[in-house]
């Protein structure tokens, strides 16, 4: 048998699209991609959303998601062209020779079945192992992947383990049938940085130990640099660059790859605090109805006019709850909020129109934050009518001004949200919040759903607008690179408490508290061997203790 495990030649993939108001038609989403993967090697597929990387990964299992169809080319696995194989052979290939790890293990595990049943299912179904052998193998894999209580964790249901643990269970599921190739589709993207590092290391060691080949799909170049031997950069269904990991990271040839490597080029000078803060949060303690514990404990932060306070933390740290308290959606149990020199009513109902106008919000999911049946002009025009009573030509003039400010222009006025890209949608949401001429905008993970280059554009825009409009941002994020790029002051949150708070330079310079140190050191860095360095460093530290 040759050493080539996967050979893809001139792969073309198409899909049927249903644009609003038009007839459905076929488009090509991958335009003739070729690559080889040797047994036991890892190839990273990297690109932004729409690059076709997941589609290519699934094509190696002869699978098309939704209306996606492979229209041309060859995919050779273990020396046979699977696109020409009968259906029964493809069923044997899936789950036997090639397995798949998805981005969201939480959604990919059946909620009604025990983890063990699902982990061994493919191995048993493909007659690779007996049920008993497969279970023994699964327990070994659970142990190897660093899961707690590997002998019994399989008896639990998916909702009874954490997200990071479930992602590792998914890796065990993929490795259990002893496949030749595993397709990892963004396996750590949905995890917090501190969890990501453990899962990444577990995956890397499991690949090395079992000697499987892998396709590693991600949009995060720093992550893929840690696990893959080769990298292929994709953009809109075309191959941009293909080479060894070392060459792509340290010596990228193509302009697009260079942009990906050097993303986050924003320089932002930290501003000095002014005497009067626009927002001060004093001793806020809050809990949700029906819970018997507080989700925020005595939170104190201040934000100055025209500046940015970044609230950073992992999921469950209470950062979005803080936003809900400030906006009045969740009245706190204790503490008070002073905004623009006046005390805010804890409850939304107690606030007047001026309070509402001066405090605006931008959300993570721009598409669900807009009415899909309203045009961009109507969406941006609504706050103009509501707060300023603008009508007719005056309103239209102001809408165009706002559209120019967000660099879209008048031609977007009559478009519907569905006709916009992710970045454009977020720009419209920014314009809508600016239309109210607010003093403060709460930005809740506004760039998390966007590709790095697009996110960069949004951050630059927000900084430019801050200079023009003198608006303050309360910027909620889990991404430390974003925090570095735009903040003047930072509050680090952990389990409902602010564990570190101060100006950007103070917070980001040593000495660190334990949590901030963990958080900062967990952000993947774009050089080879970073993962091993961090893990070795941590082992040394814990041994030292």
């Amino acid at each position: 048998m040759s050493d080539t495990l996967l050979k893809v030649r001139d792969l073309k993939i198409g899909a049927t699209v249903y644009p609003p108001g038009e007839k459905p038609h076929d488009i090509e989403i991958v335009h003739g991609v070729s690559f080889d993967l040797e047994r036991g090697k890892v190839l990273g597929l990297i690109g932004e959303s729409g690059a076709g990387k997941s589609t290519i990964g699934l094509a190696s299992m002869a699978y098309g998601r939704g209306g996606v169809e492979i229209t041309g080319g060859e995919v050779w696995v273990n020396g046979r062209d699977i696109l020409k194989s009968p259906h029964g052979d493809i069923r044997k290939l899936r789950g036997g020779e090639v397995t798949y790890v998805s981005q969201s293990a939480a959604a990919s595990f059946n909620p009604a079945k025990k983890i063990m049943d699902q982990v061994v299912e493919a191995a048993v179904e493909q007659k690779k192992f007996s049920r008993k052998e497969a279970e023994r193998r699964a327990r070994e894999l659970f142990a190897k992947l660093g899961l707690p209580d590997p002998d019994n964790i399989g008896e639990r249901y998916p909702h009874q383990v954490s997200g990071g643990q479930l992602q590792r269970c998914m890796t065990a599921l993929a490795l259990c049938p002893e496949p030749d190739l595993v397709v990892f589709d963004e396996p750590t993207t949905a995890l917090d940085v501190t969890t990501q590092i453990d899962v990444l290391m577990a995956i890397k060691e499991a690949i090395a130990d079992t000697g499987v080949g892998a396709l590693y799909i991600t949009h995060d170049l720093a992550v893929v640099a840690q696990v893959s031997d080769d990298i292929m950069v994709l953009r809109m269904g075309d191959m941009v660059e293909y080479g060894s990991t070392d060459q792509i990271i340290n010596n990228p040839q193509e302009g697009y790859t260079q942009a990906l490597v050097s993303v986050r080029s924003i320089e932002h000078e930290e501003k000095k605090p002014t005497p009067e803060p626009v927002l001060s949060v004093d001793g806020i303690t809050a809990r949700y109805k029906g819970l018997n514990f507080d989700v925020l404990h005595n939170v104190n932060v201040e934000l100055h006019p025209g500046q940015t306070l970044a609230v950073v933390g992992e999921s469950g740290s209470g950062k979005s709850t803080l936003a809900r308290v400030i906006t009045g959606l969740l009245p706190p149990r204790d503490g008070e909020i002073t905004f623009a020199g006046r005390k805010l009513s804890p409850n939304l109902k107690g606030r007047n129109r001026e309070d509402l106008r001066e405090l605006q919000m931008i959300y993570q999911m721009a598409d669900v934050a807009m009415n899909p049946r309203q045009t961009v002009g109507t969406i941006i025009g609504r706050p103009l009518e509501f707060y300023f009573g603008m009508r007719g030509a005056e309103k239209r003039k102001r809408i165009i001004e706002l559209l120019d400010e967000i660099e879209l222009g008048e031609k977007f006025m009559d478009r519907y949200p569905a006709e916009l890209s992710g970045g454009q949608k977020q720009r419209v949401c920014i314009a809508r919040s600016l239309a109210a001429k607010p003093k403060l905008i709460i930005c809740d993970e506004v760039t998390s759903a966007l590709d790095p280059l697009v996110a960069d554009g949004i951050l630059k825009l927000l900084l430019d607008l801050q200079k023009i409009e003198d608006v303050a941002y309360l910027f909620i994020t889990h991404d430390l690179a974003t925090v570095r790029a735009i903040s003047d002051s930072i509050a680090v949150m952990y389990q409902g408490r602010v564990v570190r708070y101060g100006s950007k330079s103070e917070v980001l310079s040593p000495p660190f508290d334990d949590y901030t140190d963990l958080l900062l050191s967990s952000v993947p860095e774009m050089h080879l061997g970073w993962l091993e360095e961090v893990v070795a460093h941590r082992k040394m530290e814990s041994a030292g203790n």
């Binding site: 699934l58 299992m61 699978y63 998601r65 493809i90 069923r91 044997k92 290939l93 899936r94 789950g95 036997g96 397995t99 798949y100 998805s102 969201s104 959604a107 990919s108 595990f109 059946n110 909620p111 009604a112 079945k113 699902q118 299912e121 493919a122 179904e125 493909q126 639990r156 249901y157 909702h159 009874q160 599921l173």
Partner: protein
């Protein structure tokens, strides 16, 4: 306490409360009708004195609330009162008839529920292909035709022309089970045809909904066959909506069979109720109303409880 026990006991309490409300509503509505039992007994030409005497004799001159609680107390002890027209104990006359109705509903359910779920699974397996379209077309046709028409058509073709089964569904205690089943075959077929479409369509929709989920994709990428994917991974997650519609249809089988019972002259609750409504026999109507309400609420409560039990998050809390 285990959250399941708490939720289930909440549902039970709610069901009892609902039944109390239903009984008050039924009693109140019959009170609001013009005329009362005394009027019904004596007829339109009765003198006011005779009416007043009879009312006093029957206790109808006392306040409605008192009579409601007396009536309710009776029901709780199994005393449904006496029929106006034939003076018989209602509980006794209803007993046998309710048994007959339940017997008919039971056999209709035994056939229709598994068949509907199987057809639903089959429709998903071959969705948008001819088996799916055929199943939908046939079941939608049978639900669209009024049941009395299906009944008479079956009587004519099956019983009269082919000589199979009995055209009249008369049963009595001296018959063997085989004889009884032969006797009720036609009404069972009619009821099955009527309830099939609803349950089958819901099964299909609930499973198709689950088929969009990521864990079904995982199952596909494990190389499982289509039927295993549907049966192992989709069905367990579609139980709640399916059970809901099944229970609604079971309730219909018990409560809504009036027409079918009349067509086949079946000695069930439906016939009994229709007979006594025409005679303005208020105590019987009240009793039947409460029994129907209890069955309806009971079955829906079962659906709720099954839906709670089907949720792994509630069954196995963290």
């Amino acid at each position: 306490m285990h959250p399941i026990i708490k939720l289930v006991s909440q549902r039970l309490a709610l069901g009892l409360l609902l039944l109390l409300g239903a009984s008050a509503l039924i009693f109140g509505l019959t009170e609001a009708l013009p005329g009362d039992a005394a009027q019904a007994v004596l007829g339109q030409s009765a003198t006011p004195e005779a009416l007043a005497n009879l009312r006093e004799e029957m206790g109808l001159d006392r306040p409605a609330l008192t009579r409601y609680f007396e009536w309710l107390g009776g029901i709780v002890q199994g005393d449904l009162g006496h029929s106006l027209t034939n003076k018989l104990d209602i509980a006794e006359s209803v007993g046998g008839r309710l048994g007959n109705t339940l017997f008919l509903a039971f056999w209709a359910a035994i056939i229709s529920v598994p068949l509907a779920i199987f057809l639903g699974l089959l429709a998903v397996r071959y969705r948008n292909r001819w088996p799916d379209k055929l199943i939908s077309a046939v079941t939608l046709t049978t639900i669209s035709i009024p049941e009395f028409l299906i009944g008479y058509v079956l009587v004519y073709f099956v019983a009269v022309k082919l000589g199979m089964f009995s055209p009249l569904a008369m049963i009595n205690d001296s018959m063997t089970l085989g004889q009884k089943l032969n006797s009720i075959a036609l009404p069972v077929i009619v009821l099955t045809l009527v309830v099939l479409a609803h349950m089958m369509r819901m099964t299909r929709a609930a499973i198709l909904n689950v088929m969009q989920s990521a864990y079904v994709e995982t199952a596909e990428l494990k190389g499982l066959s289509n039927f295993k994917i549907i049966y192992r991974h989709a069905l367990p997650n579609a139980v709640a909506p399916i059970v809901n519609v099944v229970m609604l249809n079971l309730a219909y089988l018990v409560v809504g069979v009036v027409v079918v019972e009349v067509v086949f002259v079946y000695p069930g609750m439906g016939q009994y109720l229709v007979d006594h409504v025409t005679k303005r026999d208020v105590p019987v109507v009240l009793a039947c109303g409460v029994i129907f309400a209890a069955i309806y609420i009971g079955l829906n409560m079962v659906a709720d409880i099954v839906a709670i039990l089907a949720n792994p998050r509630l069954r196995h809390p963290k």
